[in-house]
Structures are given as C-alpha cells and as structure tokens.
C-alpha cells in the first residue's frame, strides 16, 4: 500500500487483516451443523505514518469498530497481521503484553459505558498512572490535575463520579484516561457521535489541539464524513468489511474514486438549503455480512454496476496515495478529479 506520505517505517501497519464472528451459537445453529460466520473485516491493509491523523469512515456494519478493536487487541485477527513499529504485538504474552498495551490507547464511543460507574474520576485517572508507574507515587495527584487541565475539565471533577458529569465532560475524562499512559497511537472510535452539536465541536477542537501539541498519531473512526474530514490527513472508506478507497482527505472530498464514497458524500444532508436533490444518493439496503455479494460488495447498490462487478475489483491507483477498489474507478469522477488537480485548473485570473 502506498501511503505517499512517509518513507520511514510506519507506526502501524495493518496487513491483509480479516476477522469473522460465529453467528449465534444457539441450539438451532448446532442442529444445522453448519457454523455460519459474519464477515466483519475482510482483507484490510493500510499504514499509519508517525504523527498523522487517519480517518476511517463507513456506516454501521462496515467493520470499522471491529478494526479498531483488532488494533487495540480486544480481538485477534483470523488472518493477517497488525504491526506496531514493526512488531506483531499478538506474539507477546503476559507481562510483556501488559507493558506494551499503553502504546496504543482507545477513546470509546459511549461516554456512559466507558467509565466505571463506581470509581471517582480522580481514581480512574490515577489508576493507570500507578499501574504503569508513569510518575512517582507522590506525583500522581499533580499528574491527575495536569491531565484534567489538559482536557479542559475543572479540577473539582476529580472528586466526582461519572453519573454527576455531562456527556461531554465524560468524553473528556475518557480522553484524559487514554492520554494518561502517554500513548503513541490513539484510536478514537466514534468518540464524538453521542454528543450534542455544541459539545461535539468542543471535543473536536480538543482532539485537534491534542494532536498538534502532543504529536500523537490518531486513528479517528466515525460514520460522519464531515467530522472525519475535519480532523484527518488521510481517509479510508469502508463498506461491508472492506476498505474500498483510501486517499488524502482533501482529495477524497474533491475527487472521490469509488461510487460508494460518492454516494456517502451525497447522502450527508448539506446545511445549505439551496442545494437539494429529490432522489436518494444510494439506493437499497446493506447486504447481509453473513453472505456478502461476490466480487465487488457494493455492486448490489451501485449505479455503475455491470456484469464484470461480480469479479473482485482491482485496486486502482488514481494518484499517488489515492486508490479505489472499483472496476470503474477511473470513470467515477474524472471531471471532479481534473478540477481538483491544481495543474489542470486555469488560474483564477485567467477566467473571463
């Protein structure tokens, strides 16, 4: 996979990773004698360069959360491997594994389930500091205060319990907890999805600041393209377990190369009331992830689908660092791509 960004070793390399889950281990499936499996992630590969923010976007069931959990080792891949600084951490065990854990941290979607309801905010933040000896025992209190300041929470929050905090405050605690162990990579899985618009904006600004100031590498996962574009340097688009397109953020939005990306962008309700369309951007519904379509998984809903789409699509390189898995990738948005290319655009003053 060409990242086009970095010639040094990537901080994270996801290599042909697949993950399936057994579908209900109930009595009936035992009788059928055929264990059906849900294909959550299928053959996904990409790399994260040090210090970048990589956005992963897709709708429910696209496998983005499973991928996040594979990366933070809450799941194990069925096949493929995930290398952090060249090391496959699934090979570690016991103490070595626990010591390596802090390198990759996660911010969860639901700020109501991601904090232990019976632990005060102060102890929730002090615990990782003590467990991993991040600071000397006497320094723990000061470090907790520093973390609270860092994420913009009042210091008095330390004595409080999660139920006394608002959703936005809890999400800030979740971010502070992830930062407490000084991670190199933070995976944020739908970290702003449950929040009100005004609170979401505050948390997005915070995430952007943290990235800039701490030099963190961030994998930002969301169903919301506008939020992903706001934060990300590069974006990967997932559909039904596959990565279907990967591009620098600006280019993806200016010249998407996969019909699904085009549809996803058009489906987002624009806040400009002057731009309205009468027909839905993507027709039909998501196919079953238990029996995904053969060949291109998007073909059942794709406006461009042809007979050839029943065969696996090639990964078409559109520009350096931008590819799309589509038989017709070069046709999808040729005009838009031409416009996005500065070389192809006439200078503004040349216009009549």
């Amino acid at each position: 996979m060409t990242s086009g960004l970095s010639t040094t070793q990537p901080i994270l390399a996801v290599e042909h990773v697949s993950k399936t889950f057994p579908v209900s281990q109930g009595f009936l499936s035992t009788l059928q004698l055929r264990r059906e499996r849900l294909h959550a992630v299928t053959d996904v590969s990409f790399e994260l360069a040090q210090g970048e923010t990589f956005g992963l976007v897709g709708e429910s069931g696209c496998g983005k959360s499973t991928l996040a959990r594979l990366i933070v080792q809450l799941h194990r891949p069925d096949s493929g491997r995930i290398l952090f600084r060249g090391v496959d951490r699934s090979g570690l065990s016991g103490a070595a594994r626990r010591k390596a854990r802090p390198q990759i941290q996660m911010v969860f979607q639901d700020p109501y389930s991601s904090l232990n309801p019976r632990m005060s905010i102060g102890s929730a933040l002090a615990e990782p500091l003590r467990v991993h000896h991040i600071v000397a025992g006497a320094e723990v209190g000061a470090e907790v205060t520093r973390l609270l300041d860092r994420v913009g929470l009042p210091r008095g929050v330390a004595d409080r319990f999660p139920r006394e905090l608002s959703g936005g405050q809890r999400q800030r605690v979740g971010i502070a907890r992830a930062l407490s162990v000084r991670p190199e990579l933070v995976v944020a899985d739908e970290a702003v999805s449950g929040l009100d618009v005004s609170i979401r904006a505050q948390v997005l600004d915070l995430l952007a600041d943290l990235h800039d100031e701490l030099g963190l590498t961030v994998l930002f996962i969301s169903h919301d393209l506008s939020v992903v574009e706001f934060l990300s340097d590069r974006v990967g688009v997932m559909y039904l377990g596959r990565l279907v397109e990967l591009a620098p953020a600006r280019e993806l939005f200016a010249a998407p190369g996969h019909p699904y990306t085009v549809g996803l962008m058009a489906a987002i309700p624009s806040i400009d009331p002057a731009v309205r369309t009468a027909t839905a951007a993507v027709r039909g519904e998501l196919p079953s992830p238990i029996h995904p379509p053969s060949g291109c998984v998007f073909r059942t809903r794709c406006p461009l689908a042809q007979a050839i789409c029943a065969t696996p699509p090639p990964q078409v390189q559109l520009r350096p660092g931008h590819w799309a898995a589509c038989h017709f990738a070069t046709d999808v948005n040729a005009t838009a791509r031409a416009r996005a290319d500065p070389a192809a655009t006439p200078p503004a003053d040349a216009l009549p």
């Binding site: 609170i199 904006a201 506008s226 574009e229 058009a266 309700p269 806040i271 839905a280 998501l286």
Partner: protein, 347 residues
Amino acid sequence: MTDIAPVAQARASAAPVLTVAGLTTLYKTRRGEVTAVDNLDLAVQGSEIFGLVGESGSGKSTAIRSIIRLLPKSSARIAAGSVRLGEIDLLALSEAEMRRVRGARMGMVFQDPMTSLNPVMTVGEQIGESLRYHGVGRTEARSRTLETMSLVGIPEVSRRYGAHPHELSGGLRQRVAIAMALVGSPEILLADEPTTALDVTIQDQILKLLVSLRDELGMSVILVTHDLGVVAQTCQRVAVMYAGSIVEVGPVKTVFANPAHPYTRGLLASLPRMGEGRRRLRVIAGSPPDIGALPSGCPFRDRCPMAIAACAEVRPLLEAHGPDHRVACIRHAELVPLAEPLPEALP
C-alpha cells in the same frame, strides 16, 4: 381594489393546519416541577415541513409529545396553552376523543423503529390496526395497508405484509413505522428524530421519502431533529429551540443564510463542513442547559458571546427581525447580517 376578495380568500385558505399557543409543559422531579416547554407558539401551514431543532434538553421532543398528548401522565403535565388542529383544541379533548384524533388526523413516527413496533405482530397487522380501530372493514383495511406500504417504498409488499419487524432492516422498519402513521391519511405527521437511529445513506432515503410523501399527499409535517443538515434539506420553516423556548423561527433559507440569534449562529459555526478541512470550530462555550437551573433572564446568556447586563433582567420574547423571521434576543438588531454565510469559517 377589485382583487381584495381573492386575496382574503387566499389568506383564509392559508389558515394554519396546526396552531400551538402558549404551550407550557412541566416535568415533576424530586426537586419540584421544572418547565420543559415554556410558553411555546407555533403555526404549521398546509403541505409544510416544519423543522423543530435543538440540542438535548431543549424541549423539542416534549413539545411534540405535548401536541399529540403522549406524555407520561405520572411525570409530566401540560400547564397552559392550546393546540388547535383545524377547529378543535386537542388539549380540551377527553382521552377517548384524543384516541380518535391520533391515527386519523395526526400520525406520529418515533426515533427507534425497533421499539416503536410490536415484535409479535406482523407488519401488515400493525399498519392496518389503526384502520380497524377506526372502523374500517377487514378487506378494505388490507388493501389500504398494501397501498400505503408501496407508497412508502417497501418492496415486495405482499410478502412483507406477513413479515415480523425483526425480519426487516432498520430502514425498512422505519418505512413500516411511517406507513403506520400515514395509513389513516392524517392532516399532519409528527416525526420525532425519525432518522437519528439510521445510517446516513438510509437517512437520506427516508428524508427523500418524507419530502415526496408531502408532495404527493399534501400533508404537513413537524420534523423534530438535532441535525441542522436534515432541516436544511427537508424543511420550509424552522424553529430553533433552547431551554424550552423557541429562540428563532423563520424560513429555512433565511435562518440558515442569516441567523439572527447568537445561539443559531453558534450552532451553525459548530458544524465541520466538507471541503473546508481543518479550522477552529468557533465553539459555543459550556453545555446545554439544565432546565431545572436556568439563569435569570435569557437562558442562553451564560454561554452567549454577546451577553450584556440587560440580558439577565427579562427572558426575551420573539420579535420580528425580518419578513416572517422572528428572534428572541434583545440584541438581534445589532447583529450584522452575514453577507457570506459565516465568513470566519474560511481558513
């Protein structure tokens, strides 16, 4: 002078379908009653999609549940106001009379299609149930059910008629919920966050469906949402709610191009926009208000960049800001119109 009569006639026919005046709803809490909806006025015209937008705690859901009278009796109480649907005041009806209005003249769609449908009844039975309740015969109920199912874009209606909700995807379930609300041909449809639980491509389909149904059936819709994009794409007029009150109301194009309340401006500025990349989201400080502990005067003043001492004195009422555009802010006249929408948003 000769065309006075036709103008008057046009005015008369443009009488609102639904008029809400002075609606006030209280919730009982441990620490006494709190005002969830405060003196709300709104009028919905025929064939209009009216957006009611706000963050959590703004009272938008309580407002439409008050209108269709679906509030939990043990914890909520409508303290004042009137809700006129045509000639009748819904708040004056008995519970039995109100049941005849629901389904026949007023339909409702809820956020979560999984919990709003009965899991043990077939889809067809559920859609037809309200017709049967309102005295329609079995065969006619079935044919009208099938008709409504195809109207809302459910494929293979005769097969789906006997399906149970769990056999359907989220998008189809929401179509079933819409069919349930529409089968009695109501004059007005109340939709409470109807697409919030859905994926964006399915949300897009459902919103387009609502618009096309309005066009075909000529019904009115109140669409409650937290998503300004949804409002921009579907509504003619919009009311922005904050802490139980409407702070700004007007045509969608006017309000989005030229927001006159600092809160509306802040909300629009809080949205990341595609193609603009990273910039600071000019954030509204603080959190959505706790309706049990509002500041005196304007409820938004503790988050407002324009607040002055006078804002603490009285709760501002809606005043005219432009044609059909009203705003509840004592400083609205000082707000400079936005020539370009949100110039600060540019990099």
